[in-house]
Every structure is written in C-alpha cells, then in structure tokens.
Symmetry: C2
Subunit: 235 residues, 2 copies
C-alpha cells in the first residue's frame, strides 16, 4: 500500500519521525503538502465535519484509514514494516517509549517557546533562556539518561536489543536535532551518552536512511521547526 503523509512542507518537525520510519522501511509514500495543491488537501481533511478529523499534522492516510498523532502513526506502521514487534506486549512497550520521546519533543520545543506557540520567539527571549537552562540541567539528563540505560541494559545495539525499532530512528533524530540546536551544549553532554551516540551512527549507516539523508526529501533543520539554533540559548 502507498501511504499519504500530511505534514507542514517547510520543516522536519514531528513529521520527521514518520518520514524516518517510512524511509527506513522502504515504504512508498507521498509527502502530500510538498506537492501541487497538497496544502489545501491537508486543510480540507482537517475540516471534515464528522467522524474524527485529525487535530493537527502529521497524519497518515493508509487506504481508508486516517491516523493522527505521530506516535499513533508509528504504532500503526511499526509492526507492519518490521520496526516494532508484532505481538502486543512488545508493541505496547515500544509505543510507550515513543510516547516518552514525544514528551521530550514538547520540552525541546518549549525551550524557545515557553510562553506560547502563537507568539514569536523574539517576544519570549528571557523566559526561553531560563527554560533552556532548566532543560539542560534537569530534563536532558533525565530523558537521555533513561534511553542510554535502556541501550546499555539491553545489549548495546538498539534500545530494545539487537533489532531496530522506530524508537531508534526517533532517537537518531533527537541526537541530530540537539546537535543542530545546541552545538556547544550537546558537544559537552555527549560524553554522558556514548551508547546513544553510537546508536545514532548505527542508524545513520542504515542504507535506506543514508540514502534519505542525502536526498532532497530530507528537509534541512531551520528556525521554523522544533529544533532551532539560537546562539544565545547555546551559551
């Protein structure tokens, strides 16, 4: 089946976790809003008057199904494409890890938007600075330390063991994103997460991921996305 991914066309954002899974799986998909009238198609699907139209992008169309929320899309794709166990215990376990990543992504975003998404970054610089301090002091060690321990406890290759899951692809994106947004802070922190750095390298070398990253399908990081590089926040 060919999928249709609906997500904002100019950023990696939350759509990127889905793109990485689709790319690694070699699944056929259209990145709808990056083509022709895709943006208006996306808007129209969110305005459906009945059923359960998605709250926000990303959402995935899989035949008749429309699936909203990043982690939910990965739950659907994972066991179909060898990126998560098929049996319920493993599926739920991997999904729980992805939901923890989703929580972390919100906290990444709020480093530059602690007051409100509808305001500009420039209107919330002092609280952004404070939130970023807290983020690096308390939150990054807590979240990434947790995943580092999982990799260690489960043999050192991927988070749940020898087989890759979509959680590993997402952790690749987390490491890449933190490197982009906070190059100095992240360089200093990486010695605390050697296994996640290795995991990042292992994912980057996967043939489909490697091809994707070298293609135009991979949107570069920028200051409209989740991971934004503001020098004053990296000081």
């Amino acid at each position: 089946m060919r999928y249709q991914l609906y997500y904002w066309p100019m950023i990696q954002g939350r759509g990127e976790y889905v793109r990485l899974a689709l790319e690694d799986a070699g699944a056929g998909y259209d990145d709808v809003a990056r083509q022709g009238n895709g943006m208006s198609d996306m808007t129209r699907m969110m305005d459906a008057g009945k059923g359960t139209p998605p709250f926000a992008p990303p959402f995935l169309k899989a035949g008749k199904l429309v699936i909203g929320q990043t982690a939910n899309i990965l739950l659907y794709l994972g066991s179909r494409h060898g990126l998560a166990p098929k049996a319920e215990p493993g599926r739920l376990s991997v999904h729980g890890l992805q939901l923890t990543i989703a929580d972390f992504v919100v906290e990444v975003h709020d480093t530059h938007h602690p007051i409100g998404v509808s305001l500009y970054y420039e209107d919330q610089r002092p609280p952004a600075k404070k939130r970023t301090e807290e983020f690096w002091k308390e939150r990054v060690p807590k979240y990434l330390g947790y995943f580092e321990d999982l990799v260690k406890g489960n043999g050192g290759a991927y988070v749940t063991g020898r087989r890759v899951t979509y959680v590993d692809l997402s952790l690749f994106q987390i490491v890449e994103g933190l490197r982009y947004a906070f190059p100095k802070r992240m360089a200093a922190f990486e010695e605390d997460i050697p296994r996640l750095v290795e995991l990042r390298d292992r994912v980057a070398e996967r043939p489909n991921i490697k091809a994707y990253l070298a293609s135009e399908r991979r949107i570069p990081f920028n200051e409209q996305g989740i991971f934004r590089c503001y020098k004053e926040l990296d000081a």
Copy 2:
C-alpha cells in the same frame, strides 16, 4: 485479572485518567502507592536494570505486562473493557484523540510551570501569568473547540457517537479540572462548549463514576497536581 496501578499517592495527576477508566469498567485494581510499602515498590520497578522499565508513573501492571504512559495504558484497557472499539481503525482513532488530550494536559501543567518542573511555582509567577493568558486566549479554544465539534458532528452524546470511550471519561476530568483551577475563566468559557458540559454531566451520572467520585478513592484536587488553583492566574 486484577490490575496494579502505580502512581503518586497524593494527587489525581495523570493517574486519574487511568483510574476513571478502571472505575467505569468496574475492573479490580490496587492503587499500589497508596497502600503499605507501595511507594518503594513503585520506585523499585522503575529501577529495573534491563528490559524497558517505565520512565515515570503512571504505569499499570497487568499480569506479567508492565505498561507505561497514560494513553498507552488506556489503549490497552479500552478494547478489553468496552471503553474503545476492538477493531484496529476505531482503536487507533480513539487513541489518537487521547494523545491530543495528553498534549493538552501538558499545556495545562505548564500554565503554572512554564520554566521548569524542578522549580517552584513561586519562582516562575510572571511567566506563568503570561503563559496562562496565552493558554486561555489560544489553546483552550483550539483544543476544547475541537472536541466540542466532534461531539456535535457525531450526534451529541459522546465524542465518537453513542458509545462512551475512555476519551469521554478524560474529557470529564478536563472540564472538572479547569473548573477547579480557573473557576472564573471557565465559567465564562463554558457557553462556548455546551456539548462538552453536557458530556461532563453524562459521565458524572454513570453509576460507577458516580460511586467513585463519592468515595475516598477519588483524591481531591490540590496544588501538587496538574490542575492547580492559583487566584492570580484566574484573574
């Protein structure tokens, strides 16, 4: 099967969405950390050195399974206890809605903690005030308007139609929580969400929920939880 719920004993918090589902279903469960040595049991389970120990409470033990993340627990319980469809399309759809509620819950929390969870509210009052303004101006209308439209579009009883799901139980909690935390703001806003207010009443009248709310198992709202009543934020 009797379940074991692990959650902080003094607050409703995120555990409450699970409690409401277990109670409505009439499922047997132990609220572990509220009994005997439950708190140390909870800590020990999070310190397991291998497998995938949960990142944070709440988590649910169901036989040998340990399921982390509120929405994931509800995904597991829902189709087993008549609180979500059994077939995959409906299950994913309801789960996506719950994930949107989870996003909203983070935003509720951040009204009083916009800078960091490890800091006291008293140390982040001015940004809390600003974030709360944004929350009520932009976010509450967006999220609750979305759910109001779903109830309207699907017949007016519950979010997905005539049958209750765990999402409806969670929306009950959202309405109750906003009434507790922001009595003035919520009183003014309720005219915009008449169907959600009716849904709240419908849930409150469900016999098992009614019995639960009248019991000591229901922890009162307080200023350690997600929904906190600070007068200056309700002005």
